[in-house]
């Protein structure tokens, strides 16, 4: 492009100032990226939840169990294709800081219920033939350097004693944002070893519906089926369940929006001021451009292009750094399993940077456009 040297030369007229402004954009977009990742980490469960799955918990609270006998009754409700159940184990591996989710799952039905978790048939078969077998997510295996055949001792907190498991399979998430940090083992193992109080009880059920449009009706019917029993239920779509879970951490979205708004408003002022100074400093140059025949619109675009370029370079730098940081995965080792900067977030962040660039450059650009050549050339 024949005007590139003109734009670049002007941009780097004051190198330190330009670099500092680019740095401001980079820091703001880096922060935006990280905040978006944290927000996503709390809400990703909502976004990736299976649309055709319902979650059934005890009406009192999720920590209250439900009878295992409900499974058959659930399957009799018209519109439910399949059902499975799981229990929260809540054990500790070596140290309490090594948090990860452990589920005692129903062998036959759990795998087909969650097709987003991919495991080979051979490994699944090995798991099924080992009473103490366990399936672990790929991220979890990577984190603790586990491999097939390793023996994993986990100290129970809800279920007393030390529980030994053999890693028989490692699953992968189909999508980058799928939670590959879970630990599954046989519900039967839990039931056989645990004291009689827990026998015949499960933590929650997940059911798959045949027709999405029936979800609301089926959820209502499930809760009505078990109404006035000692174990009343509360049924929600998996999405609503994940959303209510995310809300327990507070209104993270609002917090992040507030911080983001302040950061971008400050950035707008900083960049606007920088561009205004840049235009003031070269009033004569702009007047000369106009004198030799460059149009008012060209001068407007020239200043806007400089502002946009600053925003684009800074934005790309900040988002690139944020992406690099998140590539290594969840820094909390299990608390935020969906620690992932999505391409959509990158595009959104970059777009916001460009908008800030345009808005910040607009006023100085209009000033430059309206510059009176004769008056500007008189200035010394």
């Amino acid at each position: 492009m024949k005007y590139s040297s003109l734009i670049l030369s002007n941009l780097f007229r004051k190198k330190i100032r330009t670099l500092l402004t680019i740095g401001s954009f980079a820091v703001a977009l880096f922060l935006f990226g990280l905040l978006a990742v944290v927000h996503g980490a709390f809400n990703q469960g909502v976004d990736i939840a299976g649309a055709d799955r319902l979650v059934i918990i005890n009406k009192v609270s999720i920590i209250q169990p439900l009878p295992v006998s409900y499974e058959e009754r659930l399957l009799r409700i018209p519109g439910i294709k399949s059902a499975t159940h799981a229990n929260w184990f809540g054990g500790v591996y070596q140290d309490e800081r090594n948090f990860f989710a452990q589920f005692a799952v129903e062998d036959e039905s759990y795998r087909p219920m969650f097709p987003e978790f991919v495991i080979s048939d051979d490994q699944w078969k090995a798991y099924m033939s080992d009473r103490e077998g366990a399936i672990v997510g790929a991220e979890l295996a990577k984190r603790f350097k586990w491999k097939l055949g390793d023996r994993i001792p986990i100290k129970g907190t809800i279920f007393q004693g030390t529980w030994d498991f053999n890693v028989r399979g490692i699953y992968q998430g189909k999508r980058a944002q799928d939670d590959a940090a879970q630990f599954w083992f046989h519900y039967k193992y839990l039931e056989e070893r645990e004291n009689p109080f827990w026998k015949g009880l499960v933590g929650w059920y997940t059911v798959k519906v045949a027709n999405l449009d029936d979800s609301v009706r089926i959820a209502k019917q499930i809760d009505e089926t078990f109404a006035n029993s000692p174990w009343e239920t509360k049924t929600d779509t998996e999405k609503a369940f994940a959303a209510s879970f995310a809300k327990q951490a507070g209104n993270i979205g609002f917090l992040i929006m507030s911080i983001g708004a302040v950061v971008f408003f400050t950035l707008l002022l900083v960049t606007g001021n920088t561009m205004a100074i840049a235009v003031r400093e070269r009033v004569r140059d702009l007047a000369v451009l106009k004198a030799v025949g460059f149009s008012d619109v060209f001068v407007l675009v020239l200043v806007l292009a400089e502002s946009l370029l600053i925003a684009a370079i800074g934005g790309a730098l900040g988002l690139g750094l944020a992406k690099l940081l998140t590539l290594s995965g969840d820094p909390t080792h299990g608390m935020l399993p969906f620690f992932y900067l999505s391409p959509q977030t990158i595009v959104a962040g970059f777009s916001v940077a460009l908008v800030v660039g345009v808005v910040a450059g607009l006023l100085p650009a209009i000033t430059a456009m309206k510059l009176n050549v004769v008056a500007a050339l008189r200035r010394v």
Partner: protein, 245 residues
């Protein structure tokens, strides 16, 4: 032939009739130019002299389409510019006018080559063609070997040469020089005037020069004095030669 009586024929390159320019300063109205007439033919070299504030630069700005008159008409190469819109006037400037400023007004972040190339960016010339034009212009002003230098790496005289190269690179209809030697020492000023002189003689350029310097003005075919908003014809080159002999 240059005339100020409004009696020029239709063949003039520049024809000015009844040119008025008024400024409002607070409640006071300043009448800078009053009913001014001027005819300049292609290849003429005209110098405007006069005391500070007499309206020399204002006249140059009006002739260059940088400013609009309060009344009157300016016709350059058949185009009446006094009623052109801002956008049209800008396009007209790019085609017809080469400005040479007292303070050179080179863009400090661009090299000599890039400064000279500026007017050509508005044309449809290819990169190679632009390069060739810029090299010729810099060769004419004797600075081809300094094309990669930035203005800060050049002397005042050299900066003004680059300014002249920028003014002539697009081959404009005429050159408007606003005190081109005003910021230079005598030697550099003479060199610049030699160069402008050569542009008129060898390249048939039409030059309108505003200056306070009688020696610079002495190079012109005719010197016009501007006083109290009115143009008065001074000596012509032939008269000066006769006076000297």
């Amino acid at each position: 032939m240059v005339r100020v009586d409004g009696g020029g024929n239709g063949s003039s390159l520049v024809r000015v009739r009844g040119l008025d320019k008024k400024y409002q300063r607070g409640s006071e109205e300043i009448h800078v130019l009053q009913g001014l007439n001027l005819d300049v033919e292609a290849g003429d070299f005209v110098a405007f002299m006069g005391p500070s504030g007499s309206g020399k630069t204002t006249l140059l700005n009006l002739l260059g389409g940088l400013d609009l008159p309060s009344a009157g008409t300016i016709v350059v190469a058949g185009d009446e510019i006094t009623h052109l819109s801002g956008r049209k006037l800008t396009e007209w400037r790019a085609r017809h006018v080469g400005f040479i400023f007292q303070m050179y007004n080179l863009i400090p972040v661009l090299t000599a080559f890039q400064n000279v190339e500026l007017p050509l960016l508005l044309t449809k010339l290819s990169k190679a063609e632009r390069r060739s034009h810029v090299e010729v212009a810099l060769e004419v002003v004797g600075l081809k070997d300094r094309m990669r230098h930035f203005p800060r790496q050049l002397s005042g005289g050299q900066e003004q040469r680059v300014g002249i190269a920028r003014a002539i690179v697009a081959d404009p209809t005429f050159l408007l020089c606003d005190e081109p030697t005003g910021d230079l020492d005598r030697k550099s000023a003479d060199e610049i005037m030699d160069l402008i002189d050569r542009l008129v003689r060898e390249h048939r350029k039409t030059v309108l020069l505003v200056t306070h310097d009688p020696m610079a003005a002495g190079r012109a075919h005719v010197v016009l004095h501007l006083d109290k908003g009115v143009l008065v014809e001074g000596q012509r080159a032939g008269d000066r030669a006769g006076a000297r002999s």
